[in-house]
Symmetry: C2
């Protein structure tokens, strides 16, 4: 089939706050082919900056936009997806945003190819059975330890056996405040639950404080301490690991390129690498990181704080890797997380499985998408560069 | 002083081709303060994607645009510049384009602060005398070896004692063709000139071919072989260096973050690190790489293929480092390279010196800027996000 249209859409809730909650807006990518089929993807990225990457005028041979790279191309095989990945990133060599932006296109191409070939994406990626994962409810810390405990109790009452709390007041005050937050999550979830702590880059490049917090949190036996440091603080991650913290260290969600992930794995020494399929260049790149994690003997986990379209895309990447047990499962209360695509619900065992239908196995809820769609118009010297297409 | 306006401008030649010539368009950044002063910067980046980074609606606490981060802020000291750098990059943690886009703002802030304090930027950055540099004329290979030789002869007739040829047909055909290009540059420039070869990422991740070309080019004694591999091919750079090529290896222009530069220096083993002040986050980040190069005992060089505003900003970064001798000096024939800002002309010795006036020491040619200015309009749901300001 021939790619006939590559359309990004800007979706947004009426009110957006500065909380670290990525479910307040999104950018959906729809790719259509000449056989009438379509595939869908989603980026975890600034919608406007991402859409600009789809329509920016050519600056020279290393700044060519994504529509130009894809429209008119042939898509029949997995090799075509790999070829287009290489072409789009090479054409956009000097567009820093290219990986964030291409992520949604790559996901949509896998969805489209899977539908075309009648295969689920995980089957196109490689051999092996798709295994269920332990979903961990991913939410933000509340403003107080007490409210955080109530949130944890609620998640427990919802049947979650694993939960991650992050950002919010973590790291804002002193060690006692940070510890109180973790302690109350543990109280709320109960002793048997998997508890993950996301420090939300609170300590920048300061490995000593990160180490001190790992020690202070250890009595509550978190499964990991996530992003105690900035994504690019690779030397600080290495320094932290040399101190042998008593809690495994997770990170990597900020990886925008395959090399960023390789760098923080090899030189930062992560125990869990967390990859956002909507940032790193899509399923194609994320799968390469999964394989890298398998070779390195570390754990791969998705980073996902978007809709279930992104949950599904993430899960296809590592469903066939039985050793990678956890699935980040957005549990913030936003229609752009819950209603935008077919949900991958927990089964009777509390686990999440892929829907092994062709493509990603989820559908976009067009009514929801239309409700939050933002009409966008970009015009230069009288020429329209982007106009929100019909949805 | 208080920052009152942060304005990006899209400039473009009437015709843009897919040649690897970065002087076909540009984005200028103007920052104004409440005392009536203004500073100017330039990004080597996609203008549209960059402007989107200045005006994108907030997505959450990690996607906040550059205007929002800067307007209303205080600027009195170098510490303010460092504080704003940290703030802007932290607010834009999840905008991949943030470093490319912030580069122009950081340059403009240094220019503005230098004017405010009556000091050249190099003096604000550190101690030491500003040294002249050997400018190397930076041009593209012509389509044939013969035409390339003529171009080299022309540069020699213009008094250049150093020149770099890059991109174009290099790497497109076989080794004999690649060697013919280098041989004819040497013939055209003469035996005494510094000759640099820019392979324009021709061999991707293929260290063996890069090594073979270094061997084949060695009889023409190039000063360096630049970007034989992709910017993120750090493991391939390391493999290439393990083979001990007979020509020094240069790279790093693709670094969009300080960590990218550190990675390719420490793990790729570059001999020359080439930093674009208009991509890596401005003068502030480039100066950190210069210091890193000094510690590592490797050579720092600017990467510049824009106007003399960028040449000046680049030169302030390493003018006081006598050991770093070469200055990339754009010599393609474009008004956006030659006429957009006061030129740093070669002196009687053929060297280039800073103008040690306050700030960057160059002025923007507003007539030129207005001639190539593109009126741009970005509107979402009836709200104007960006409208080209008066210039």
């Amino acid at each position: 089939m021939i790619i006939t249209a590559v359309d990004p859409f800007y979706l947004k809730l009426p009110v957006v706050t500065d909380a670290a909650d990525g479910t307040q807006d999104t950018v959906l990518i729809r790719i259509r082919a000449d056989n009438g089929m379509e595939g869908w993807g989603e980026c975890d990225a600034s919608p406007l900056v991402t859409i600009a990457t789809y329509c920016c005028p050519m600056s020279h041979g290393n700044i060519i936009n994504l529509r130009e790279s894809l429209v008119g191309e042939t898509l029949e095989t997995v090799e075509d997806i790999e070829r287009l990945h290489k072409k789009a990133l090479r054409n956009g060599l000097d567009i820093q945003q290219i990986h964030h932006a291409y992520s949604g296109a790559d996901i949509a191409l896998w969805d489209l190819l899977g539908k075309h070939l009648g295969q689920p994406v995980c089957r196109l990626l490689g051999e092996g059975e798709a295994h269920p994962k332990i979903p961990y409810a991913s939410v933000l810390f509340e403003e107080t330890p007490e409210a955080t405990r109530e949130r944890a109790e609620f998640l427990k009452s919802q049947g979650y056996r694993a939960a991650k709390f992050g950002w919010g007041p973590m790291g804002r005050y002193d060690e006692a405040c940070d510890v109180a937050l973790v302690r109350e999550v543990r109280r709320g979830l109960g002793e048997d639950a998997h508890l993950m702590v996301d420090a939300g880059v609170a300590w920048g490049h300061d490995a000593e404080t990160a180490y001190a917090r790992a020690v202070a949190f250890a009595p509550y036996h978190p499964t990991w301490l996530e992003e105690p440091l900035l994504p690019d603080a690779v030397e600080a991650y290495a320094a932290l690991q040399r101190m042998k913290p008593p809690v495994p260290i997770a990170g990597g969600e900020g990886s925008g390129r395959l090399r960023d992930a390789a760098d923080v794995i090899q030189n930062g020494g992560l125990d869990f690498v967390q990859i956002d399929v909507g940032r790193i260049g899509g399923i194609t790149t994320a799968y390469a990181v999964r394989q890298m994690a398998e070779r390195q003997g570390i754990q791969y986990v998705n980073h996902t704080f978007k809709s279930h379209l992104s949950v599904a895309a993430s899960l296809h990447v590592f469903a066939t890797a039985e050793a990678f047990r956890f699935l980040e499962y957005p549990a913030e209360d936003s229609p752009l997380a819950h209603d935008l695509a077919t949900r991958l619900e927990r089964d009777a065992d509390g686990l999440v499985r892929l829907n092994e239908a062709p493509g990603l196995g989820v559908d976009v809820n067009l009514d929801c998408a239309r409700e939050y769609l933002q009409p966008l118009h970009i015009e230069m010297a009288g020429e329209t560069l982007y106009e929100t297409p019909e949805l």
